[in-house]
């Protein structure tokens, strides 16, 4: 009872046969071996599996692979371009926005949509905007900074300092 679907991931079309119940995250991780998208829970609470489906941030553990038929997906593997890192990748690295790295791909992809909809968010808007994504390591301060940094970079403004305010 497998069904053939075609999904475009990071610009490359994949035609695959899937069981109707297969979760999109398992298609990406197991069948297509792109393991940058992570799984952190079984209740759609943690956001580690967040990807972009047609530009919208989606928890890929909460979508069936067949629902992605014909859609265009961006995962963490597709964030950087030939020109270099995505501003969010740069922002996370420059601002120590990650420790263990497990929530990072989902957090960045969520922030891509957040910044597209709201290019210059306040701290509060960022905090609410990423509240579907859990991080257990960083305490979020530097994730907020990372997203502010990426926002400034995308807007073409002067980049905020990445020195820690730890005096």
């Amino acid at each position: 009872m497998k069904k053939e679907i075609t999904v475009t991931i990071n610009g490359e079309a994949h035609t695959v046969e899937v069981e109707p119940r297969l979760l999109l995250v398992h298609l990406i991780r197991e069948q297509l071996s792109m393991t940058g998208t992570h799984i952190g829970c079984d209740t759609s609470s943690c956001g580690a599996c967040t990807i972009l489906v047609d530009g919208k941030s989606i928890k890929s553990c909460t979508m069936l692979a067949i629902q992605a038929d014909g859609k265009s997906i961006i995962t963490v593997e597709g964030l950087a371009t030939v020109e270099g890192l995505h501003p969010l990748q740069e922002g996370f690295k420059e601002n120590h926005g990650l420790h263990c790295g497990f929530c990072t791909p989902g957090m960045m992809l969520r922030a891509v949509e957040l910044l597209e909809k709201n290019p210059n968010p306040t701290e509060e808007e960022i905090r609410w905007g990423i509240s579907g994504n859990l991080c257990r390591c960083t305490g979020y301060n530097n994730i907020v900074k990372a997203i502010q940094y990426a926002g400034a970079k995308i807007r073409g403004e002067e980049l905020p300092s990445t020195e820690p305010e730890f005096v």
Binding site: E30, C41, R127, R136, N141
Partner: protein, 777 residues
């Protein structure tokens, strides 16, 4: 040292190229899922796998009876207690592993799990740890010969007689009963493994989420040596770890079952638990009931403490404390204050709850200890009507009194508590806040200010006192410098996000003058890394970080000899500056470290050992004692009883700082794991032993919204005995934050006669207590 260089490990993490256990895919790999008990205490009447085995892809269902044939159905815990791998007849807690389903893919394994039929005969469980000690309580551990009660151990320290005498005669005594509830680390990556047994080679490669790969390899060899898996035949690889916080120290039954199945079928077996299994069955943290008492003069001079503990370990003592310290380092509970009398007594019991007692980003029960001393200190301040900051200033151990011997046997290495608290008070404008609070109180508004001035105890530990399962708690570093002057260094620890690839390289760079970017750091592979006890309890910098410095100094000594040979001078004529040796008074006559290393392979003095490598196993002479001063401001809404942390200032002292950016990052993260138990997290069980919040939908891990914008800073009091004066920091904030928050909330509520509230302090609890006092409707 002291530079916020960006992390080396980030390049792979931000590009989806990390390598976590669940990313590992081996040819022919099977998947395992686990059938778990719905009951907290029950006899297993039968397990029927017939329907499960009919499901396409399911190849086996493994039960305790199957493991019993190989004597693999029991295993030791790290506390030398025992734990079932799979039960043969009785389940002891809800979510306990009952059987394992092996299948060709994840979905078939889950289908098989749903189809295994288990017939149980439920029994009345023992859930309340106090009732577990009742004379008529059923004895739970009937597997232990001669066991007649549910008591595990009793431990005490201090002078009981002197303490009792003090409490009989003191001007002022205060007392509170506290519960530090059961919580869960809930690292975003759950636990899992790929067990890969090669029958031809009789060799096991075990990829697993472990913070302590070497210790685990030894445990595997101890448990499975009798079936041929001796230690040289076992390789444990801990790849990238998605957060640990203590939850990835123990050995869980799932790991052992995966090994057993791989051993039996000769194929790799992957087991990755889901989040609910992780919350419901893996080691919990805390669950201490504490009676805390403090004695003082009427002026507020603290004279002594008397603490009594009851530890609920669940079904087995599966904590990971050093052997001599079953209640961990709780005896740091004397705090940052100068007095000489203390007595602490602890008991532990079995109940029908999941086993554990591991850390939650905390060094061996220090969080519980700090909570108790910081809360009871505030209780004293309230009792005698003294400002809690003033009370602390008057009682702090003075900077010049270090090293300071505590009445429970520790020697605090260094500290400057006055400076830390003053800095925190200046940063937050303490005086201004107290003024504002007085005005608000006059208007009936609720605002609270809470202080915590904690002393941590980390870096376990000196081999004379510290071991786990007999293995001494040293740690190690091995540095190899290649002919071109670039290096690789390997360690017995294992980062789970702490940034070791960056900070260890910085330590070696500082000592040897080789740029950090040319020093590759490796951890987590028992075949290549030197032996060490792993990363937990904020021990990596105090132990392995020290080992790195000492190993690098051994190399510097060798470099001096080679430089003297190359420059044709005596060693005494040489002076070191980072990166080169030069002749005293003639700085143009110099050899860089790169030239020296190259000579070690191409032109070394005759009679000297060639090459440029050093290893050091560092046995710390003492523990390190980081400290901090935290101040929290809360506003409580009288209508909704919502608690808002308005500001939180954290001043940490972790000695010399290797990378300020990483230290600050550790502090931020630890603070969020401090507000979590203070206001949100608790694993709740009903009287039948059912967990009431075993998923991330109802176990409240703070998001970016609940987590305040932390304000951080530091003071520096180097450790006098650590080679680079560092102390460790990862857990300080988790230890120090909860009492600051609880003290702030109690401070806000104190005008209504409230002297204590147990964490997590929720709006509901606040509403309930205010209603009891007639303050709200």
């Amino acid at each position: 040292m002291g530079h916020s260089i960006k992390r080396k490990e980030d390049a792979r993490f931000i590009q989806g190229k990390g390598n976590y256990v669940d990313d590992i895919k081996l040819p022919g790999m099977l998947h395992m899922d686990i059938v778990r008990s719905p009951y907290a205490y029950a006899k297993i009447k039968s397990i029927n796998a017939e329907e499960a085995l009919k499901i396409p892809g399911v190849i086996a269902v493994v039960t305790g009876k199957d493991l019993e044939k190989y004597n693999l159905h029991w295993m030791p815990t790290l506390m030398s207690d025992t734990q079932m791998v799979l039960p043969t007849d009785t389940v002891m807690y809800q979510a306990q592993e009952v059987a394992a389903v092996i299948a060709t893919d994840r979905y078939a394994a889950r289908d098989g799990k749903e189809a295994v039929m288990v017939d149980y005969e439920p029994m009345k469980p023992v859930i309340d740890p106090f009732k577990a000690l009742d004379e008529d309580a059923p004895v739970l551990r009937t597997d232990k010969e001669g066991k007649t009660d549910n008591h595990i151990w009793n431990w005490s320290v201090g002078d009981k007689e002197a303490t009792d005498k003090l409490f009989d005669s003191a001007d002022v005594t205060v007392k509170e009963q506290m519960h530090i509830p059961r919580i869960h680390v809930a690292s975003i990556e759950t636990c899992g493994c790929v067990a890969d047994y090669n029958k031809v080679e009789n060799h096991l490669t075990m990829y697993m989420t472990t913070q302590a790969p070497h210790a685990i390899r030894t445990v595997i060899a101890l448990v499975a040596g009798h079936v041929g898996l001796t230690e040289e035949k076992v390789r444990v690889i801990s790849p990238d770890i998605g957060g640990g916080f203590g939850g990835k120290v123990p050995v869980y039954p799932g790991y052992v079952i995966a090994i057993a199945v791989s051993f039996l079928v000769g194929k790799p077996v992957k087991w990755v638990e889901d989040r609910s299994e992780n919350l419901q069955a893996d080691s919990f943290a805390r669950d201490y009931h504490i009676t805390a008492e403090m004695a003082a003069t009427k002026e507020g001079k603290i004279q002594g403490i008397r603490f009594k503990l009851l530890a609920d370990h669940g079904y087995t003592d599966a904590a990971a404390n050093p052997s001599k310290f079953p209640t961990g380092l709780f005896s740091i509970c004397t705090g940052s204050y100068d007095y000489g009398t203390a007595y602490l007594e602890a008991d532990a019991v079995y109940t029908n709850k999941p086993p554990g007692g591991v850390a939650y980003r905390c060094s061996f029960r220090v969080t519980e200890a700090v909570h108790a001393i910081e809360r009871i200190t505030d209780r004293l301040a309230l009792e005698i009507g003294k400002d809690p900051a003033q009370l602390r200033f008057e009682n702090f151990i003075k900077k010049e009194d270090f090293p300071w011997k505590s009445p429970t046997g520790w020697e605090y290495d260094s500290g400057d508590y006055h400076a830390g608290l003053q800095k925190a008070m200046d940063a937050i404008d303490y005086e201004g806040l107290r003024k504002e609070q007085a005005e608000k109180r006059a208007r009936g508004e609720m605002m609270g200010i809470g202080i915590s001035t904690f002393t941590e105890i980390v870096g376990a530990g000196p081999s004379k006192d510290f071991d786990i399962l007999g293995i001494k708690m040293f740690d190690s570093a091995e540095i190899r410098v290649h002919p071109t002057g670039k290096a690789i260094a390997r360690f017995g620890t294992k980062s789970q996000g702490q940034g070791h690839e960056t900070t260890y390289a910085q330590i070696i760079a500082e000592e040897l003058g080789i740029p950090a970017e040319h020093i590759q750091i490796e951890e987590g592979d028992t075949d290549t890394a030197p032996y060490g006890l792993g990363t937990y309890a904020s021990r990596s910098t105090p132990t392995a970080g020290a080992a790195a410095a000492v190993a690098a100094r051994k190399l510097r000594d060798k470099a001096r000899k080679i430089a003297a040979y190359l420059l044709e001078v005596s060693e005494e004529d040489l002076e070191w500056e980072p990166g080169k040796f030069f002749v005293k008074g003639a700085p143009e006559k110099a050899k860089t470290i790169q030239e020296i290393v190259f000579a070690a392979y191409t032109n070394h003095p005759q009679g000297m050992e060639a090459g440029f490598e050093a290893t050091h196993y560092y046995d710390p002479p003492n523990l390190t004692f980081p400290s901090g001063a935290y101040i929290c401001v809360v506003d409580i809404d009288k209508e909704t009883c919502e608690i808002k942390v308005r500001r939180f200032v954290a001043i940490d002292d972790c000695g010399n700082i290797i990378n300020p950016m990483i230290v600050q990052g550790q502090v931020h993260g630890g603070l969020t794991q401090g507000i979590a138990p203070a206001m949100y997290e608790e694993l709740i069980y009903d009287e039948d032993g059912n967990i009431l919040n075993g998923t991330l939908m109802d176990y409240l891990v703070p998001t970016a919204v609940e987590s305040p914008s932390w304000e951080t800073g530091h003071t520096i009091t180097p450790s006098p005995h650590h080679p680079i004066g560092a102390k460790g920091v990862g857990e300080s904030p988790t230890v120090g934050a909860p009492p600051a928050i609880a003290n702030a909330i109690v401070d806000a509520l104190s005008p209504y006669g409230i002297t204590h509230m147990d964490i997590p302090i929720t709006p509901y609890k606040v509403w309930k207590v205010l209603k009891e006092k007639g303050v709200v409707e």
